[in-house]
């Protein structure tokens, strides 16, 4: 099976700024892929290039087996897009916009449309100018999800949704992936959303991918945090390579983080120090993410700031 999206070495500059600086991104067919990164990292630029709204300066992009710029119209029959900031025509009702966008894509599942309106609790009769931000977002979501397409490009699709609707969104996307085998590229800031929905993810920063893989793979690359209570503190831990942020509290209570390739060595030292309690916790996605955020631009892993 080919990849739904294959991006290598993508570059796009705006004047002096390099918005994308050699980005690599691979989304396999049938997977939900999380696309994470701080504000201004280049997520939206990437999606706009994938939609053929903008041309890349360098690098190769393949979307559903085609060139997103040259074959834009053909490819768009097979995908649906939800922007992070939906604007509607002030004098068209939400229902009209859903129908219009669906028909432009070549058809709309009426039953699905009705079901989604119900689940998202949206009044389709209101005019565009009367909707709140969350409701405008729902209009775009329903239009995308009621279309019969292979690929969903979602750019921060839940911004403005309340927690209840966020939950509905997760359920619906889950169904899309499991039942209908759709491919999803989900750009998001909401890490729990990505963690819940996505098989694999790419973290981007300053226009390049800094991490890519499943959550398990990302964790393996990162540090585990350890809390332990020991009888005698093994002093050599303070200086052992791979140990970060070593803290000793009263009563032999230790807290520190370990690079995963040093974990074996560290556990062996602790085991000889009379362990009374031990908690080892893999990093959450949030920790992984913040670690990437805090890193200096263009610096490599060893310069990471320990927390």
């Amino acid at each position: 099976m080919t990849d739904a999206i294959a991006v290598t070495g993508l570059v796009r500059t705006f004047g002096q700024t390099r918005a994308l600086d050699g980005l690599d991104l691979t989304v396999r067919t049938g997977e939900a892929h999380g696309f994470l990164g701080p504000n201004g990292a280049g997520k939206t630029t990437t999606i706009r290039i994938l939609l053929g709204l903008m041309r890349a300066d360098a690098g190769s992009v393949t979307l559903l087996g085609g060139d997103p710029w040259r074959d834009a119209t053909e490819l768009h029959r097979r995908l649906a897009y939800v922007p992070g900031d939906v604007t509607l025509w002030p004098n068209l009702s939400g229902g009209e916009v859903i129908d219009l966008l669906g028909r432009l894509r070549g058809g709309l599942n009426q039953q699905r449309r009705a079901e989604l309106l119900e689940r998202f609790d949206l009044d389709p009769r209101k005019k565009g100018r009367a909707y709140s931000k969350g409701n405008r977002q729902k209009v775009a979501l329903i239009a995308a999800l009621a279309s019969d397409v292979e690929l969903l490009l979602l750019d921060e699709p839940t911004s403005g949704l309340d927690p209840l609707m966020e939950q509905v969104f997760r359920e619906v996307i889950q169904e899309e992936i499991e039942r209908n085998g759709r491919t999803v590229l989900l750009s998001s800031h909401i890490l729990s959303e990505v963690e819940a929905l996505c098989d694999r993810m790419t973290i981007i920063r300053d226009g390049r991918a800094v991490e890519s893989g499943s959550l398990e793979e990302l964790r393996r690359l990162a540090r585990t945090s350890i809390e332990a209570t020991v009888d005698t503190v093994p002093e050599e831990l303070r200086t052992l390579p791979g140990v970060h942020g070593f803290k000793e509290e009263k009563g032999g209570h230790l807290r520190f983080e370990v690079d995963n390739d040093a974990l074996d060595e560290v556990l062996r030292r602790i085991a000889g120090a009379g362990v009374r309690s031990l908690i080892s916790r893999p990093p959450t996605l949030e920790e992984l993410f913040i670690e990437q955020y805090n890193r200096r631009p263009n610096s490599e892993r060893q310069l990471g700031v320990s927390r």
Binding site: R48, M54, R125, R129, A140
Partner: protein, 534 residues
């Protein structure tokens, strides 16, 4: 006074945002008025020559339509008469400023951001009005000072300054009211455009009637534009009209503040209605969407053009009456086609006005392309299987056919009414209709200019309005200011023959159409290649 807290700061914000908009435009207005003095001094140096000039032009209904009534032949009277179109354009700028800083801000949600700070309920409206008030007052003072510095009588100069300032201030107040009525800035625009259009129309009908000893001369008194002209600079000034202007401004402002006090932020007085839960089966293509977006504006313009056609066409016959009391003039005109030549000159003038209006409509609807793009509503369409050219074409259909329909409708309306009045439909209708249709190639050049800006320089699409302003100014002041021919040739309207009555050859029409096609093609090619929403 808490309602006004923060007004001063907001006023500074308004002025900061408008510093590249209002001062340059007003500077042009000022220069135009001042240069009229030297052009008239140069072209008609003696009192005798001015008297002849005044006699001939007073009887030209086209000029009465454009500038208003000419009361005498002194230098000041000629200048004030020729500057008679200025109140309309000043009014337009003032409406723009007030609506832009009130309803547009509210619709965009920025007013909410400000409203949450220490800013009183009425401060934004007050600030917008005051900023416009000050700009107009400065213009008025400058005009008055410059005119008397050129040696014109002080009283008349003051009146001319007040005519300019008064028009701006009155319409700033009208804009303030319009901004309270609808929840969209476009709606407020439509309401104030209708108010301004009606004012101009009433003024024209009243003035033409007065010049031809008709019975509806009083209609000028129903028009704010008529009021400011009734200050009669240099022609036995009627100072009491000031009281009318000030009183009306006060009343309009009181109304605006009262309305603004009673409504919720973001709401209009006219209620919102629910729409349809599903789209009509026909709403399935970019063209169908474009029809939804353009049809209201199209209907408004066509209706407006029909009214203009009927009113201006029905006045054509009365132009002849302007000659009745002047045997010498009748002799002059009989050599150049007689009274019918005078009617033709009038009809040719109104057709060129309608042409410029239609170009305004063409630019407005072509800029819809950019408006959709920058509002973020193009992306969802292009993310569907819709090519860029197909989308652009769907809007251009209306940007091209809309003004054509409006001009055609106006030509038919004017032709039929004039035909009925003269009892010679078979002769008059084709002539008048043809004159209206002849403006179309020039309108298309401006449409194509806008398309070229959209495709190649999308951030500078506002220049389309500057292009129209240039055409309008060349048309209104070109002959009086002796501008170089090459400059006048830049305006496509210069190349349209004076119809009815002038001689016609195909060359200018073909040339204009070729230029239009080339510019539009360049624009569309640029749009295909450039990033969207750049």
């Amino acid at each position: 006074m808490n309602d006004l807290a923060g007004t001063r700061r907001l006023m500074r914000l308004v002025m900061r945002r408008d510093r590249l908009l209002v001062p340059p435009i007003y500077l042009v207005f000022f220069i135009v008025v001042v240069s009229f003095v030297s052009s008239f001094e140069e072209l008609y140096p003696t009192a005798r020559e001015r008297a002849d000039y005044a006699d001939i032009n007073r009887s030209n209904g086209g000029f009465t339509t454009l500038y208003g009534r000419l009361y005498g032949s002194s230098l000041g009277e000629l200048v004030a008469w020729r500057a008679g179109f200025l109140p309309v354009v000043i009014a337009l700028v003032s409406l723009l400023v007030v609506i832009r800083h009130t309803r547009s801000e509210e619709e965009a949600g920025r007013r909410e951001l400000l409203g949450a700070t220490v800013v009183g309920r009425q401060a934004p409206l007050t600030a917008a009005f005051l900023a416009s008030f000050i700009a107009n007052l400065v213009l008025g003072v400058l005009v008055a000072v410059a005119m008397s510095a050129r040696g014109l009588p002080g009283g008349g100069s003051l009146a001319l300054g007040l005519e300019c300032a008064g028009a701006g201030i009155l319409f700033a107040a009208i804009g303030a009211v319009a901004a309270q009525l609808t929840s969209s800035a476009r709606g407020a625009w439509a309401i104030s455009a209708i108010a301004l259009g009606l004012s101009v129309l009433l003024r024209i009908v009243g003035d033409l009637s007065a010049e031809s000893n008709g019975t509806v001369a009083w209609m000028s008194w129903l028009s704010p534009i008529g009021w400011v002209q009734r200050l009669r600079p240099y022609a036995d000034e009627q100072w009491w009209v000031l009281a009318l202007i000030i009183g009306a401004t006060g009343a309009l402002l009181a109304l605006a503040f009262r309305l603004s006090d009673r409504r919720d932020l973001g709401a209009g007085l006219l209620p919102q209605r629910l729409g349809s839960a599903t789209a009509a089966p026909s709403l399935r293509s970019p063209l169908a969407l474009a029809w939804r977006l353009h049809r209201g504006v199209l209907g408004g313009w066509v209706a407006g053009f029909v009214v203009l056609g009927v009113v201006l066409g029905s006045l054509a016959e009365s132009i002849k009456d302007m000659l009745n009391d002047n045997q010498d003039l009748e002799d002059i005109f009989s050599r150049t086609g007689g009274a019918s030549g005078l009617v033709d000159a009038y009809l040719a003038t109104i057709m060129s006005i309608l042409g410029v209006f239609a170009a305004g409509y063409a630019i407005q609807s072509t800029l819809r392309l950019r408006y959709e793009e920058s509002a973020g509503r193009l992306e969802p369409i292009l993310a569907a299987p819709v090519g860029r050219l197909r989308w652009a074409a769907s809007h251009l259909v209306f940007a091209i056919l809309g003004p054509v329909a409006a001009l055609t409708a106006a030509g038919l309306a004017a032709g039929v009414t004039h035909g009925v009045n003269t009892g010679d439909m078979g002769h008059e209708l084709p002539r008048v209709f043809g004159a209206a249709v002849a403006e179309i190639p020039a309108v298309l050049v401006l449409t194509a200019f806008t398309v070229a800006l959209f495709g190649l320089l999308p951030r500078l699409t506002g220049l389309a309005w500057a292009g129209l302003g240039m055409c309008l100014f060349f048309g209104l002041i070109g002959s009086a200011m002796k501008l170089d021919q090459w400059l006048l040739d830049l305006s496509p309207f210069t190349h349209i023959p004076h119809l009815p009555g002038g001689s016609v050859s195909a060359t200018p029409f073909v040339a204009l159409l070729v230029i239009a096609v080339a510019m539009a093609a360049a624009g569309l090619a640029g749009f295909r290649r450039r990033p969207v929403a750049d």
